[in-house]
Amino acid sequence: MIRQTVMVLTFLVLTLGCASMPGGGGSGSFKLRPFREVTLKNGLKVLLVEDKSLPYFSMFMLVAAGSSNDGLTASGTAFLVGDLLDKGTSKRSAMELADAMGQIGGELSVDVGQDFTMISASTLAEHQATLLQNFSEMVTEPAFSANEVDRAKKQVIAQLQKTVDNPGNFAEVVFDSYLYGSHPYARRVLGRKRDVTKLRKKDIIKYYLTHYRPNNAQLAIVGDFAPTIVEDLETVFGKWTSRKPAELTFPEVPSISGLQIQVIDKQDLKQTEIRLGHPGIKRTEPDFLKLRVANTILGGAFHSRLVDEIRDRRGLTYSINSSFDARKDAGPFTVSTFTRHEKVGETVSETLRVMKEFWEKGVTDKEVADAKALLRGMFPRSLETAERLGETMLILRYYQIPDSYLTNYLRDIEKIKTAEVNEAIKKHLQPANLKVLVFSPKDKVLSQLRPIGLVQVKNYSEYVQ
């Protein structure tokens, strides 16, 4: 009975907390498991991470384009392109592909993000030739038939409409648009309904032809692969051709002055979802690791200032956490939590108080030492499997972070001093200039929020159309 663990984790088992972070080791340089890099003739860069410990074969492909590359009034294009990859190729129909992938154990997973798209699939080692064939066919020869485009659009529109049924997810999406205004990070990856409705087959094909190119992608092959893997890759990806990639320039990230609160009203909610924060940092930010230490102390770990105060000392929530989502452009710094309606005022004001004190007084040597130990201790787990290493390296390369980020991680974390953490906090956190999103029945929370800051009220139905 091993499958139960998978189900149990997702459905039936209640865990103590929600705080989660990527996964000790000595000091000095961290030794990565062996990997090999090759570039195929068409320019596709390939990372090979061999792992014969179990009989599996996995593929990860990062395409260097995501929803930020959608046209201004064509949000949702990147998502539809990703969604349609396994819905028919020049050779096979959607159902034939579903069967072909199912037969070898799974399906194509396509995760479209703001910055990039990650396509992955896994099978037993004995089926690797079939997976290589299926995967390359879907990535390089998608059909984008009119029927399938129509079907996918309807599916996305249904998803958009029902997002509000999941309050946490809805709050997250609305918070992004609240923070980022007209910047691409404001737009949902799924798109806006009015844009998706208008999207045509040719818009989808244009996006695909612009961005899905071997010189704009990277591939990682992980597991128990054949010695002929490079030749096999040349064969299946050989016809895929390069093209000069499109440059993406971001507009300026909007700044926030003062404390702004937006209440999204929905009467039947049984609990209030709260998000607060401001635009944060780019992945290339030199203070990245210092902020990692800082965030671990603030709300990035189970024992942290926000969890201790809001959850443990005050019993206001089951989960509160803070994070810097570092992206190509400045991604959001967000604190996420939820509480009962009658405690929304206290939860928001106490969270702000903790952040303000954190910003004003900084952190202690002991907190820094503990946070560093935690980050260092968890690091080997974040690369424990060959798959995690392969996927992590694709993402680092996308952001042009050298491998020394990994090999020097333990040493670089160790070198960080309390004063540097405090400087980074002062520079990158802005507890006085931020936005608060509250998803709640408005009558139950407005009087609690008005003393805290300027409150604007909207109805959820604006986001459902």
């Binding site: 039936l12 996964g23 079907r151």
Partner: protein
């Protein structure tokens, strides 16, 4: 067919003896485990794996929500939260701080049958963790302020998981509808009024009765030396006395005679429903058969229900089927999210049609093979990390008192035939055995009453 397994696993498992090509899959998937028992009844499982400088420590107790009493539901889980509130030796903050300052993370989980605590640590930290775990098995603090705050935390958890979640509501509804007598009928998180009613005395008594070494399984996997570890285990746990355990008495669930249903009207965009059936408990042959049946019916885009409801009819945005198998009784369940504005009853009818086909026709060899391959990939995935291995060992030892059950899984799945799948569908998935739970958007038309819904809750 699976000869490659022996070859590749040989390289993985350093302590593994040479495997002859003729041994069963069970033997090929086996990982080396040292199992023994302390005189006080604590069961210990050790598996060394030096591929990364990590260890995973799991301490699970054979107590879950099914051991609770009516009126005190949610106690196993509430108590699990208190296990993080410290002892005289490791006060609350010190406990969490020590684990984090040693580079580790910890958490716990409560289910119907068990409560599991675990730490994922860098190697070299076992002395500390075993001291902490042995200490909190006996010397927990019961501070009234901590209990008062944690009660609110747990109530927030209930609001988050159930009251403010369509999926959580459906899930709770399924168990309340499938079971009427059995203790699986109430939710692990418990009901609000019971959480309010649970007193410190109740919690202390729960701790005294169930948190004993002879009710626990300790699993350690990863980068450690068994010899030294055994001495540490003896040092920290040796002096804890064993104690008599209560007999787990409960009324079995009678067979369901007619279809049941339950419904909630909510301000939602998307109608959702679940169809569920009583199923055999973990470890029985039919549980394996139903796992594969569920896979064929509703796992992924090549499954029958996905093809019908999501792809062809375009009525649903998602559907999934799985067979949940806790210790005492299983639940076979299908969850479907219908697209806004689409007809839920027609999606339910399609679902029943597909189940009808399962009862009346054999699945194809390709479908069966596909299901077996998918199950095997899940199996392999769960063993990729030291914490995954520890979890699998703990689960099997806690449920069956025999961790080697997990090594037999693949053989048992592989031996399933199309005839067995049809027979299981006929035995467990009859229309009168179904429970239907619906979440309807406000203002949507009422469902057509099906015959036999008189028993509906």
């Amino acid at each position: 067919m699976f000869r490659w397994l022996s070859l590749s696993l040989l390289i993985a498992v350093s302590a593994q003896a040479e495997v002859s090509p003729k041994t069963s899959l069970a033997d090929q998937m086996r990982i080396e485990v040292d199992k023994y028992q302390l005189p006080n009844g604590l069961t210990v499982l050790l598996h060394e794996d030096h591929s990364a400088p990590l260890i995973s420590i799991h301490q699970w107790f054979r107590v879950g929500s099914s051991h609770e009493k009516v009126g005190r539901t949610g106690m196993a889980h509430f108590f699990e939260h208190l296990m993080f509130k410290g002892t005289p030796k490791y006060p609350k903050n010190e406990f969490d701080r020590q684990i984090q300052a040693n580079g580790g993370t910890n958490n716990a989980m409560t289910s119907l049958d068990y409560t599991g605590y675990y730490e994922n640590m860098p190697s070299g930290t076992l002395d500390l963790i075993l001291d902490i775990e042995a200490d909190r098995m006996r010397n927990l603090n019961f501070d009234p302020t901590e209990i008062k705050n944690e009660r609110e935390v747990v109530k927030e958890e209930r609001r988050y998981r159930v009251e403010n979640s369509v999926f959580g509501y459906l899930h709770e509804g399924v168990f309340e509808t499938v079971f009427r007598v059995h203790p699986y009928r109430w939710p692990v998180v418990g009901y609000m009024k019971d959480l309010d009613a649970t007193s410190m005395e109740d919690l202390k008594e729960f701790y005294r009765v169930f948190y004993a070494p002879n009710n626990a399984v300790l699993v350690i996997t990863g980068d450690f030396k068994s010899g030294a570890t055994k001495s540490l285990i003896e040092k920290h746990y040796g002096k804890i006395p064993s104690q008599p355990l209560p007999e787990h008495k409960f009324d079995p669930e009678p067979q369901q005679k007619s279809q049941r249903s339950m419904q909630l009207v909510k301000d939602v965009q998307s109608p959702t429903f679940a169809v569920a059936y009583q199923a055999p408990p973990a470890g029985q042959d039919d549980a394996y058969v139903l796992d594969l049946l569920a896979n064929i019916l509703g796992n992924g885009s090549s499954s029958r229900l996905h093809k019908q409801l999501v792809y062809r009819q375009q009525v649903a945005s998602s559907i999934s089927a799985w067979n949940y198998t806790p210790l005492l009784s299983g639940v076979f369940q299908i969850f479907c999210s219908v697209k806004p504005g689409m007809n839920m009853e027609s999606a339910i009818n399609t679902t029943f049609n597909e189940i009808y086909k399962m009862r009346n026709r054999l699945v194809s060899e390709d479908e069966l093979k596909k299901a077996k391959t998918q199950v095997m990939i899940d199996y392999i995935d769960s063993l990729k990390t030291v914490s995954g291995k520890a979890r699998a060992l703990a689960l099997n030892e806690v449920l069956f008192k025999d961790y080697t059950m997990m090594f037999k899984d693949l053989d048992r799945y592989n031996s399933v035939t199309a005839e067995q799948i049809k027979a299981a569908a006929e035995k467990y998935l009859q229309t009168h055995q179904a429970a239907i739970v619906r979440v309807k958007p406000q203002g949507a038309p009422a469902p057509v009453k099906s015959s036999g819904s008189s028993e509906g809750a």
